[in-house]
């Protein structure tokens, strides 16, 4: 009982230079905003960028970027629709904003299915918005996308950082590259993740302050790119060689 889709994934991703999973372990820390705006920033810099929303239960990158009315073209596979030069894939094309609760194997099967039929062609960066938790999505990404690298998002909270440490351990054990950790929603609190990172094997990439203007700009990419959030994220992007 051989599943022919597995072999196809390798071919579908063969022209994708970098795959970056934006992950955390923790929920609600800003993974979706970071991945959406990261895709915008890289695309603006002239790279060929794809964005894939892997949060099948609560997809949200389409809401952040204001993507609607798109559907993939079926042509010897499926061609991801382009939104402002970003090739965008999300389960919302198919689940139509209805609730979708998937158990482990069903998650894996839909993940494999989408990867096996999606023709990204040439990409410099494929950004993955990961669901919260260290679970099926994390394990499947590692299993089927061998060259994936992780950007980890945390908030300046001991609770968030303790989960992040577990994710870092898991990735280190599996020998998966970690680009580094972004500290999001930073306020003037004293607790600093940057200092704590010394004890784990991951690089501190920088911090993004809490930006009260952010939500107002959802759905409007021009405005999103002018936010404090985007400017700080862009500084981080300029510093790292991804």
């Amino acid at each position: 009982m051989l599943d022919p889709r597995i072999k196809a994934i390798e071919h579908r991703l063969s022209q994708v230079k970098n795959i970056i999973a934006v992950s955390s372990g923790k929920g609600g820390v800003g993974k979706s905003v970071v991945s959406s705006i990261l895709a915008l920033i890289l695309s603006k810099k002239g790279y060929k960028v794809g964005l894939m929303d892997l949060d099948f239960t609560s997809p949200s990158t389409h809401l952040i970027l204001g993507i609607k009315g798109l559907f993939p073209e079926e042509k010897e596979g499926i061609i991801p629709p382009t939104f402002e030069d970003i090739k965008f894939m999300s389960i919302v094309y198919f689940s139509k904003d209805k609730a979708l609760s998937l158990r482990g194997q069903d998650f894996s099967d839909s993940f494999i299915e989408i990867l096996a039929i999606t023709k990204w062609n040439k990409l410099d960066y494929l950004i993955l918005d990961m669901p919260p938790g260290i679970n099926d999505a994390t394990l499947d990404v590692i299993r089927y996308m061998r060259k994936v690298k992780f950007i980890i998002v945390t908030t300046p909270s001991i609770l968030s950082f303790s989960t992040v440490k577990k994710l870092i351990d898991t990735l280190n054990t599996l020998k998966i590259e970690i680009i580094g950790v972004i500290e999001n929603m930073k306020s003037d609190q004293t607790y600093s993740i940057g200092e704590e990172l010394g004890e784990v094997k991951a690089k501190f990439l920088g911090e993004i302050p809490f930006d009260p203007e952010l939500e107002k700009c959802f759905g409007n990419t021009k405005m999103l790119l002018t936010t404090k959030f985007s400017r700080e994220l862009e500084k981080i992007v300029n510093e790292i060689r991804m």
């Binding site: 051989l2 022919p4 889709r5 390798e10 079926e74 042509k75 596979g77 198919f94 099967d109 839909s110």
Partner: protein
């Protein structure tokens, strides 16, 4: 048509098996295709004839449908998937990613959306035979 992508997936996989098994030629491949996905078998067959080459040049591909059956995890009721009960948009979504059936289909007995696919969910390669 994404049938084409599925046909490519079969070719990639069988080619790899032929290498691993050191077949000079692949004589026959049996493929089962679950009906849930509503794949057009004729298009798959056509795509395979267009895509096969090298060790697969003379391969006979047998493509057979498998009836899709679902089983409710709450009340254990088992039923057959029937495409004609769905509207076109939903049928299309399930065609691309069968698991989204969980967003649209309910158990006819108790109304739950927590069901599993007993069989006929997807396509798989049942056997590959060749000459060494």
């Amino acid at each position: 048509m994404h049938e084409w992508a599925l046909a490519e997936a079969i070719i990639y996989t069988v080619t790899e098996i032929a290498e691993r098994e050191q077949f000079k030629e692949v004589s026959r491949v049996n493929v089962k295709v679950g009906e849930l996905q509503q794949v057009d078998l004729e298009i798959i067959k056509f795509a395979l004839t267009q895509l096969k080459r090298g060790k697969l040049k003379n391969t006979e591909f047998r493509i057979e449908p498998v009836r899709a059956r679902l089983k409710c995890r709450i009340c254990e009721y088992v039923w057959d998937f029937n495409k004609n009960e769905l509207d076109e948009e939903v049928a299309e979504a399930i065609h691309f990613v069968p698991e989204v059936a969980h967003s649209f289909i309910k158990c006819p007995n108790c109304g739950a959306q927590d069901f599993e696919f007993v069989e006929g969910r997807r396509m798989y390669i049942e056997s590959v035979s060749g000459v060494r």
